[in-house]
Symmetry: C2
Subunit: 192 residues, 2 copies
DNA sequence: ACCTGAACACCGTTCAAGT
DNA sequence: ACCTGAACACCGTTCAAGT
């Protein structure tokens, strides 16, 4: 999934920073704690990334790219758009499974105003990736372009909200229950 | 709406802290900046609140109480449950109108794991207030208790997600558009 | 009762110094 | 090329000292 496969220091920093940011956000990303996880001192981080802002931007950029790859894979695995749509929430569920973490970009959307601009750009890019994929699938399922785009935004916002709420309660079953309620209400049905 | 009407120092601290926390979260609530807004030094804050955790808990407690009052007022103003339901998103829209702020508790839900427990309790209380109100209105509209509770959770999560996304884009029209999409999809319709 | 300056251990960041 | 200790201005917090 990730662009780099070897385990260089920069790579280890990126991986550890992603996990911390998913759990604690940009403000909660502590460089001294991050350095300790990687086995170096905080000052050494600056040899790999010029600043916390650049590091976080690199983390978010990869996160968006990995999400795009995951969604493409989902499209390839499913032959019917309705099936792809139904499985979309899985991508958000996985963060919850993985240590009650949330989508990096959901957390950073809350922090948006305090984010360095290079990080903001990547958070927007993540949203674009998701909206484009959802809109495409909805159009394959028969929706007109404009309606599909509006519905894509609604699904993205709703699933993000479900993930946030489930993580607050530390209850992954709540996430499943919320997605099911959305389904019952008709949010994933293109035909209305 | 608020419990206190006079403008004591404690009151001014509480009001200023609420505004800062809505924009920057618990981690972004800077005590030196807060003190400056109120016109005192950071050390003086400790004469009014024993710690940042206690201050934030007081802020969240009042926020939950004010929300409960707002929702009761909404019930009183509307005679039909469908109308009350349709106007529910207004309570979230107002934060956006007021300086692109978001619901205090949405922000704190993202930060949940890093919150002091006394603050966590109040964030949960806010959610309970909203869920109880929504569930009550949905039951008045004819839903069975269990279905109403599930749908209440779905509406709460979806509206929270919409607010978060709109604030990230700094676009209140996006919020309106998302709520409209939810309506079109059937999320606010008890009859399904 | 309320306020303050100074100090504490903590943050992100820089930089001279090491290998 | 990569790492480090020490220092900087910043955080939440404490406390002795003031009114």
């Amino acid at each position: 999934m990730s662009s780099e496969a070897n385990s260089s220091s920069s790579e280890k920093i990126l991986v550890a920073a992603t996990r911390i940011a998913q759990a604690h956000g940009y403000a909660g990303l502590n460089l001294r704690a991050l350095a300790e996880q990687v086995g170096i001192k905080a000052a050494s981080l600056y040899h790999h990334f010029p600043s916390k802002a650049d590091l976080a931007a690199a983390v978010a950029r990869r996160y968006a790219a990995d999400s795009a790859a995951t969604l493409e894979l989902l499209t390839a695995e499913t032959d019917q758009p309705a099936m792809a749509l139904a499985r979309y929430p899985e991508t958000f569920r996985r963060s919850l499974e993985n240590g009650n973490r949330i989508c990096l970009c959901s957390f950073m959307t809350a922090e948006y105003d305090d984010l360095p601009s290079e990080v903001q750009v990547q958070v927007q890019a993540f949203a674009e990736v998701n909206l484009a994929w959802l809109s495409g699938v909805l159009q394959e399922a028969g929706m007109k372009k404009k309606s599909a785009e509006l519905r894509a935004q609604a699904i993205f916002a709703a699933v993000s909200g479900a993930q946030l709420m489930a993580r607050g309660r530390q209850d992954i079953k709540l996430f499943d229950s919320l997605i099911e309620s959305y389904r019952v209400a008709g949010l994933f049905s293109p035909d209305n």
